[in-house]
Structure formats: C-alpha cells, structure tokens
C-alpha cells in the first residue's frame, strides 16, 4: 500500500463504507444463505414510523421560509449540538473507524483525531459570526456586503458540487451497507427506499423534520455505541490494559497492531500529511450542510453552545469507536461464526470489511442487538442524506433562484415552493447517480468534497467576515480558483488520473491538493481585491464597518420566529 493510499483512506473511511479498512476497499458481498433478519427489519420499520410521525408533526408547523430552511430558528443550543453530531457522524465513521482499528489497531486513532479537530476552528472563527450575518445559507454571509449575483453564484456552485458528490458517496455506501445487512433487499431497492424517505422528510417537514431526524439518530447512535463499548469493557473486566493485551493476543499481527502508525508497508509522506490535515480541518468548517445548521438557533450564544455540545458528542463517539474496534479484535476475530475461513485468515469476515462493529453487536447481544445496530446504521444514513439534500436545495432556491434570478423579488411562498421542487429533483438525482455509480470506486469523492470545502467555501467565508479589503472581484476569482483548482489537481492526481482513468503516473503526485490550492486562493483573492480600484469596490470596503458591527454584536441579525 502506498503512502498516498494510507492518507487517502484517512478521509475515505470516515465517509464511505466502501473504504471499510485501509487497503481493503471491498465491495461487500452479502452472504447469500443468510436468513431474513427480522429484528433488523422490525427496527427499521419502527424507526421509519417514528421519523414519519416527526415529519407529520413538523409539516404542520412549517409555514414560513424561516421554518422551512431554519426550523423557525427555535432550536436550542443543546438540540442543535445533537443535530450537528447527527449531521456529521456518518454510518461510515462508526463502522469504518471500528473496522480500521480491527485490522490495523492503533492506526485507527489517527482518524478519530483528524475528524474532530475542525470543530474548535468552527467555533473560534465561524459559528457566531455566521449566525449573526446570515439568513439561510453560507452564501448569505459571503455576499453580505458584496455584489449578490456573482458572489452567490460562485458560493452556490461550490455548495452544490460539495453536496452532490457527498450525496453520491453516501448513497452508494448506504445501498451497499443496507444490502449487506439485509441481503434480501437489493442494492437498487435500498437506494430507492432511502431516496423516497428523504424526499418525504425534507419536502414536507423541511429543516424541522431534518433536525429531529438528526437528533433521534444521534441519540440512537450514541446510545448504541455506548452499549457496545460498555459490553466490551465489562468483558475486559473494566481494564483497558486487559482489553489491549487481549487484543494483542487475539490479533494475528499481535504486537504490530500497537506499533504501526501506518498500515503495514505504507510509507509516511510529510507534505501529504500536512495537506490532509489542512483538508480535514478546514474542509469540515466549509461543509454547507454543517454551516446551515447554525441558522436554526435563536442567537449567536446558542450557536456557540451548540458547537461545544457537538464537539463533546463527536469526541466521545470517536473514543467509543476506538474501544469498539479493539473489542471486535477480541470478540469477533477467531470466531468461526463471523470469519469466512478460520484456518486461513481470522480477519477475513463474512459480508466484507465494514462488518466488525456489526458482528461485535451480535457477539455481545445476539440477533436482537445486531438488529438494533443495523437499524442505527440505517437511521444514520437517512439523517446525513436529509441534511445534504436540504443544503443543496437551499443553494438552488435561496441563492440561485430567489437572489440571483429573481434578484430578491421572489415571495417567500415562491421561494419555498421552488425549494421543494429542488428537494425532489436532488432526491431523484441522488438515486439515479447512486445506481449509476454502483460499480464505481467512489473513494475519490471524499477528497473532492473536502478539498473544495477547504479551498473555496472556508477561505472566502473567513475573508468576507474578517478582512475589510475583500471585494467582489477578489471573492469571485478566489472562489473559482478554489473550486476549479481543487477539481483540476484532483483529476491529474493519483486517485483519478492513475486509478480511475488509468492514465499512468499522476502529473500532480499528491492526493490532497489543499496545500497548494488554499494558499493560491488566498493570494488570488488578495491580489484581485487590492488591485480593484472600481467604485463598487470602494463601497464594499466602506460597508465593512456596518457588517462588522452586526457580526460582532448581533445587531440587526435574524430573530427566531414566534409560534
């Protein structure tokens, strides 16, 4: 395995169940003769019923645009913290990190760390100011004192590319996961079911339904993972030392699982490590569906609190997945019930490489607990995809339709109607793309989405808020440099050029272009802004003081609606 692959997997594993473990990017093949898992199906049905009740409740309370996009801004800090955690913790980070630890031991921890450190940055630089300046989308903030048309178009394109590709990754991963857990449901049927549910939640219940589906899912996921970790620790006599030494005995690589910071055979590449670090940290802070959540709370104070709660939940969850991975080494490896061929390799699991956490639940609590964990994984997918779909629809309806095409003259009712059409369109598109990409290796998608978020969305947002000198020309040129620079370098990089297109050695030898593109975006925006001598640029700089007052004090910011 190459160093690039190692770094690449660091991201891939957290988003796509396809990349179940480093180097073992498998298409999970379900076990054909598995009996129907009634526990799992029963719990899927219960969860779907609960979410449909939530959607019905939310639909009756969704009247205005603020209700539809921002849940009436009535979500509390604690609730939003849960919902953010539900939006961010994907099924793949649950199954994927556990699987990485199962195969490679200590190495899995590096993923848990990388996935958390974007959150403090969101709090320190983005959350409160975003809430004070924006209405429904991050483009509201980027274009606050700049020209609406060009800046919103650029921001919406950045958002849509991130959302669409993220959706494909989730849809393909979800189809495979569901098909693996319940083999009687085909890959296509899985994706169609998910697409249908998402369209129902989001068109009828808008952000209110999305938020409560995410909260429910976060509670289920944290509860399920806690139970598993408790089971593991009880089995180990509540001693970490015993858990780890048992794992060293049980794992065929023994001590090596504690002594490798890379998968066996991988080489470290410092520049790529740093680029990955930048991508993870700032990509998280530029994801449109995450940024959108900050408009659902009443004020900057609630936005701030919600990040603290979210960081606690997410950090706790990643520590749990680490315990779960080691528990799986002790309880799942060497068990003939889960292993394909016990005499050959004890790590080769039935159903593919993302299964360690699922089998651990079976080892701890039998069919019932396995059914529960399978339903939790399903809930997780639905919650993440709902958030993405709503973010994509808002970029189309609020930014492109209402503010660019209609130049702010659309009524609220028109805007929300367009948004609902967009949700249906995006839902159908996600199903079609999910089916089209079934046999594709979608792992590169993760690099694409996070690179664009880190190179375009995040720097433009921070500059618009903190730097007086930013003008429309600087924002637009910098933003497009980030979007097309990332896409271009990814295409000529190892993942797409060599592995997808099979064109031989990559022209640009790094998987993550952020270390080149991010500084370029900053330079382009700077130069294009300071050399902008136009009259409108003058006015944009002059408007900074008023924007600053609003972003720092919340004076004039959007208020919660009263029902």
């Amino acid at each position: 395995m190459s160093a690039a692959k190692f770094l690449f997997t660091l991201l891939a594993v957290c988003l796509s169940p396809l990349a179940g473990a480093a180097g073992i990017v498998t298409t999970a093949t379900p076990v054909v003769d598995t009996p129907l898992n009634w526990h799992a199906i029963g719990m899927f049905v219960v969860f779907v019923a609960i979410t449909l009740v939530i959607t019905y409740w939310a639909a009756k309370r969704t009247k205005t645009a603020a209700d539809f996009y921002a849940a009436g801004r009535n979500i509390t800090g604690f609730q939003n913290g849960m919902a953010i955690a539900g939006d961010y913790m994907s099924a793949a980070s649950f199954l994927g990190i556990a699987a990485l630890v199962y195969f490679h031991g200590f190495y899995g921890l590096i993923f848990s760390v990388g996935w958390l450190v974007g959150w403090p940055v969101i709090l320190f630089l983005v959350a409160e100011r975003l809430r004070n300046l924006g209405k429904f989308t991050y483009a509201d903030v980027a274009s606050f004192r700049l020209q609406q048309g060009p800046v919103r178009t650029m921001a919406a394109i950045g958002s849509l590319i991130v959302v669409l590709w993220y959706l494909i990754g989730q849809a393909v991963g979800a189809g495979q996961l569901l098909h693996t857990l319940v083999p009687q449901i085909s890959y296509r049927l899985s994706i169609v079911m998910i697409g249908t549910l998402i369209i129902i939640y989001v068109t009828f219940g808008g952000m209110k339904a999305t938020t409560w589906v995410q909260i429910t899912k976060a509670g289920l996921l944290l509860g399920g993972a806690s139970l598993m970790a408790l089971g593991v620790m009880a089995h180990a006599g509540w001693s970490f030392e015993k858990l780890f030494s048992d794992a060293v005995v049980a794992h065929p690589k023994h001590r090596e699982i504690m002594q490798s910071v890379v998968p066996i055979g991988a080489q470290a590449n410092p520049l790529e490590s740093i680029s990955l670090g930048l991508t993870l940290m700032f990509g998280t802070a530029g994801l449109p569906h995450i940024l959108m959540r900050f408009f659902t709370v009443g004020d900057a104070k609630a936005a701030r609190k919600s990040v603290l709660y979210a960081t606690c939940f997410i950090g706790y969850f990643y520590i749990l997945t680490f315990i779960i991975g080691f528990g799986a080494i002790v309880l799942v490896a060497n068990n003939p019930e889960y292993v394909v061929d016990i005499t050959n390799s004890v790590l080769n699991l039935k159903g593919g490489s993302s299964m360690p956490a699922v089998y651990l639940s079976h080892a701890l609590g039998g069919d019932f607990f396995l059914g529960f964990i399978a339903a939790v994984a399903f809930a997780t997918i639905l919650a993440v995809v709902s958030g993405l779909t709503l973010a994509g629809a808002s970029a189309l309806s609020h930014d492109i339709y209402a503010n660019v095409i209609m130049k702010g003259k659309a009524t609220e009712a028109q805007e929300v109607r367009v948004s609902r059409y967009c949700v249906v369109g995006l839902g159908v598109l996600a199903v079609l793309l999910g089916i089209a990409f079934e046999k594709q290796n979608v792992a590169y998608i993760v690099a694409l989405t996070f690179s664009i978020a880190a190179c375009a969305n995040f720097p433009i947002l921070v500059m618009a808020v903190f730097w007086r000198g930013l003008t429309t020309r600087g924002a637009v040129m910098g933003g497009y440099t980030g979007i097309f620079g990332s896409i271009g370098l990814l295409i000529i990089g190892p993942t797409v050029w060599t592995k997808v297109l099979d064109m031989g050695p990559a022209i640009f030898p790094y998987d993550f272009p952020t270390f080149v593109v991010l500084p370029t975006v900053l330079i382009v925006s700077y130069v294009a802004s300071v050399t902008d001598k136009s009259k409108s640029a003058e006015q944009e700089r002059a408007a900074f003081d008023a924007q600053k007052i609003r972003s720092e004090t919340g004076l004039g910011s959007e208020v919660a609606s009263v029902h």
Partner: protein, 103 residues
C-alpha cells in the same frame, strides 16, 4: 439598524475592546489547536517510533494512544474555554454596548 446606533457603537471604546479581546482569544486558540493537531500529524510522519513506544515496560499500550486521546480531549477543553470566556465576559460586554447605543 439605524445609522445613529451604528455610529454610537462604532465610537464606543468598549466595542473596540470587545473585538480586540475576542480576536486575540479566537486566533490564539485556533493556533493552539493547529499546533496540537499538526504536532501529532508530524510525529506520525517523522517520528513514528516515538508514538509507538510502550508507555511502560510491562504494558502493550503505545504512547501515541494517550497522546491521540489527549488531542481529542484538549480540543473539547479549548472549545469549553472559549464558550466560558464568551458567556462570562463577551456577552455582558455586548449587552453593555447595546444598552449604551440605546438598543
């Protein structure tokens, strides 16, 4: 917002004090998180043997494990520090600025 409110805030030294204090805190903490995280990443890249040494002769646990968990906990702690400072000193300051501006 009215122009008079805005100019009253703009001319209030407390407003500039707020911006200064919050910027210092926010950028210092951002730098700290970056140092912690990229420090960890650079150890992974350049000094893996440091991370993989056992925490004691009798233990199988590598030193990198408490360090990695430490980076996670430190991130949570730093967000907590920011929220505490914002709740106890920035919010009252904002309330004062708004009151003095007649809002």
């Amino acid at each position: 917002m009215s122009d008079s409110t805005a100019s009253s805030i703009q001319n209030n030294p407390k407003y500039h004090q707020l911006i200064r204090q919050r910027n210092v805190l926010a950028w210092t903490l951002t730098l700290l998180v970056c140092i912690l995280y990229f420090g960890f990443i650079l150890l992974v890249a350049f000094a893996p043997e440091f991370l993989t040494q056992p925490i004691s002769a009798s233990s199988v646990v590598p030193l990198g494990m408490p360090i990695g968990v430490g980076v996670i906990l430190a991130s949570v702690l730093l967000t907590g520090i920011y929220v505490y400072r914002a709740n106890t000193s920035f919010d009252p300051l904002i309330a004062e600025i708004m009151r003095e501006a007649g809002e």
